[in-house]
């Protein structure tokens, strides 16, 4: 009996891992799963917008076929797309598409695909979407197929500032899906004042009422900015100094928790006053709970992108490139942003968004003004050894 029970529990734990350490949409998903048990109907309403139909959308709507009748299989983060995008794509191209929201955590997804890709086996995906640093690791390991610009004419719409990135010079293997910012989210009713700085998180007045993220680059990056260091040039000493500051705050009881996406739940429930938070999430909650605010602190905020890549073992790479070409049309990109309020890397997407969702198009979260862009930082690309070392320091700091 005990063995069967523990196996069952393992299944649940794995399901939990898949969701819990996620950055996007976990709250909304879990609220749906639990029948609103956790957050109540308010958040359900906020996240409604019909987006939850996306995963199943591909299954029944495609009648025509292309690409030899094979199915295009995409893995992405939860609730990171508009529900119309996949059906529209199928109609426009005739490519049957299976869109799965099964990426919840970079490291965890990597653990899933590492072995098969190492042995050059198929992972049954044509498109995967991972954050910069993880994209860099996959490219370095040779797991990614090169893109063929001739098959993706719309790549010309890629905005200039991400055309050349350190982890993928010349964008030979990857293109951005959407980008987001990591800053400070807070509940002014609980803080009693407006926040402007990362150091507000360390204000003893908020003892036991602040949370930080379990994503090392986000939390360490922001605290480095608070220390006046540049996260794009992180050294072991910088990381140690930031970690020491975090550890001290943790041990004193200042930090209530290190979380994945579930900080939003604590913010909404009034358990915490302030949190290191992702821009798109707070926007999602603020639509329903106008108390909550998100700021890019005066010291700066972290910028991350999630990138589309084609696994080298995919036998349908043309379908994948047709998909990339489709979403790099400004109109289609604007539609995606309307469904998921993050930053698009497609030229002209802002103008298209203004046509379909004018109030969203002017939001700094979707379209940061130059002043804000100047304060955005990207964490340094780390070698495997650095990654392990910094993570070790970070895990020690957060007590895990």
């Amino acid at each position: 009996m005990s063995r069967r029970e523990s196996d069952m529990r393992d299944d649940e734990l794995h399901a939990f891992l898949r969701r819990a350490i996620t950055r996007r949409g976990f709250i909304r998903r879990s609220a749906l799963g639990a029948g609103g048990l956790v957050l109540g109907n308010s958040v359900l309403a906020a996240c409604g917008g019909g987006k939850d139909g996306a995963p199943a959308a591909g299954a029944d709507s495609a009648t025509a076929t292309a690409g030899g009748g094979k199915t295009l299989r995409i893995s992405n983060w939860p609730l990171y797309i508009d529900k119309q995008t996949v059906p529209d794509f199928e109609k426009a191209t005739g490519i049957k598409t299976e869109y799965t929201e099964d990426i919840n955590d970079n490291a965890e997804f990597f653990a899933k695909i590492d072995e098969p890709l190492k042995r050059s086996q198929s992972i049954d995906r044509e498109i995967i979407v991972l954050t910069d640093w993880m994209a860099g690791r996959l490219i370095q390991l040779g797991y990614v197929a090169p893109l063929d610009p001739a098959k993706i004419p719309n790549l010309a719409n890629l905005v200039d500032n991400v055309k050349d990135v350190s982890f993928d010079p010349g964008r030979k293997y990857s293109v951005p899906w959407l980008s987001g910012m990591t800053g400070v989210g807070y509940n002014p009713k609980k803080t009693g004042r407006e926040l402007t700085s990362i150091n507000d998180i360390f204000d003893p007045k908020f003892k036991g009422q602040v949370t930080m993220l379990t994503e090392m680059r986000d939390t360490i990056g922001l605290v480095m900015l608070a220390n006046g260091k540049d996260p794009s040039k992180a050294t072991a000493a910088d990381v140690k100094a930031a970690a020491a500051k975090i550890k001290k705050a943790r041990e004193s009881g200042q930090i209530r928790k290190f979380t994945g996406n579930d900080y939003a739940e604590d913010l909404a429930a009034g358990n915490i006053a302030a949190a290191i938070a992702w821009s798109g999430d707070i926007q999602g909650l603020a639509a329903d709970n106008p108390d909550l605010k998100w700021i890019a602190p005066k010291e700066g905020a972290m910028l991350y992108s999630d990138n589309m890549m084609i696994p080298k073992t995919s036998d349908r790479q043309d379908l994948a490139m047709a998909w990339i070409n489709y979403v790099y049309d400004p109109k289609h990109s604007a539609q995606i942003v309307a469904g998921a309020p993050y930053l698009s890397a497609v030229k002209g997407s802002g103008a298209e968004l203004a046509k379909i969702a004018p109030e969203l198009a002017s939001s700094p979260l979707v379209n940061p003004p130059d002043e804000l862009r100047g304060r955005l930082h990207v964490f340094k690309a780390l070698s495997d050894a650095e990654d392990t070392e910094y993570n070790r320091i970070f895990q020690d700091a957060i007590g895990a």
Binding site: M1, S2, E5, S6, R9, E12, L13, A15, F16, L17, A20, I21, S30, G33, A34, L37, V38, D105, A107, E108, A111, G208, T214, M216, R250, E251, G253, I255, R256, K257, F258, E265, A269, G270, N271, T388, N391, R392, Q395, D396, I398, G399, A400
Partner: protein
């Protein structure tokens, strides 16, 4: 075995082995092989002696180990204190309600472990009913909290593993021949004396099984600590999970798992010796 029935004695001699073969195979593939791989992982990638990783595991995470055993022990004792009387009531006093009550004990399993733990988050919220009540009763200071404290973690563990305590105790109580209790009373034993001398000793195998089913998973649990605790309440399960998935320091994670298994095994054997039951061995 129908086909071998005519084979006579040779077939029946083989029968037991054939019957256990699937189980043995299962254990070999899903228990022995992973254990060996885990052992290999725990000593891989080293320049120094093989115990280097183990030294690091114990040196850095000793506090997490102690905390895990403390919390699990606390949860086991609470579960025993809550579960024994309830199992006793169901077995001896519930009458026709017996099946209904047993059903209610198992009922929480119809919801997943995770959702139930999440529900506790809502119940223990700073603005929630539990905090409000305790503050009205002046048990909790104003501005005090329940969520993200030791109480919440141990409470969550107790709640989640309570049925594993109740059910084995219930089974062992149910098996007791009522005439033994009657005999004790016929011999002028007080009800309490009959309980102490007859019922309690006969229910000890259930207590033993229940304690193990509570203590062992509670020690390795990380959901309760993660959802209901602050960073200062994290247990060894959280560390192992982080080392495997986030840090990807597989040797350290493997050695932590091994230390955990070793300590639990030694603890269980010691406990079995004390309680004098051979059920486990």
């Amino acid at each position: 075995m129908a086909g071998t029935a005519s084979g006579g004695s040779r077939g029946s001699r083989l029968a037991p082995y054939l019957l256990v073969a699937p189980g043995i195979l299962w254990l070999l593939v899903f228990f022995v092989a992973p254990i060996i791989t885990l052992a290999q992982t725990s000593v891989s990638g080293l320049e120094g002696p093989w115990w280097e990783t183990y030294q690091r595991a114990l040196g850095n995470y000793g506090t997490h180990f102690f905390r895990s055993f403390r919390y699990a022990l606390g949860a086991t004792l609470f579960a025993l204190a809550l579960g024994y009387p309830l199992a006793y009531f169901i077995a001896f006093r519930a009458g026709r309600l017996k099946n209904l009550l047993l059903g209610l004990v198992v009922l929480p399993f119809f919801t997943t472990f995770l959702v139930r733990t999440f529900a506790w988050k809502t119940i223990l919220n700073d603005g929630g009913p539990a905090v409000w009540l305790l503050q009205q009763l002046h048990i909790l200071a104003p501005g005090g909290r329940l969520l993200d404290t030791t109480i919440a973690v141990v409470g969550g563990l107790t709640y989640n593993f309570l049925p594993f305590m109740i059910l084995p105790i219930y089974v062992s109580l149910e098996k007791i021949d009522r005439r033994l209790v009657e005999a004790a009373e016929d011999l002028y034993s007080t009800p309490l004396g009959a309980f102490r001398k007859v019922v309690l000793p006969l229910s000890l195998p259930g207590v033993f099984a229940g304690s193990l089913l509570t203590f062992i998973p509670a020690t390795g649990d990380f959901i309760n600590a993660q959802l209901l605790g602050s960073p200062n309440q994290q247990m060894i399960g959280t560390v192992i999970q982080n080392q495997f998935l986030e840090v990807r320091d597989y040797p350290l994670a493997a050695s932590l798992s091994f230390v955990l298994m070793a300590v639990i095994t030694i603890g269980v054997l010691a406990y079995a010796r004390v309680l004098g039951t051979e059920e486990l061995a």
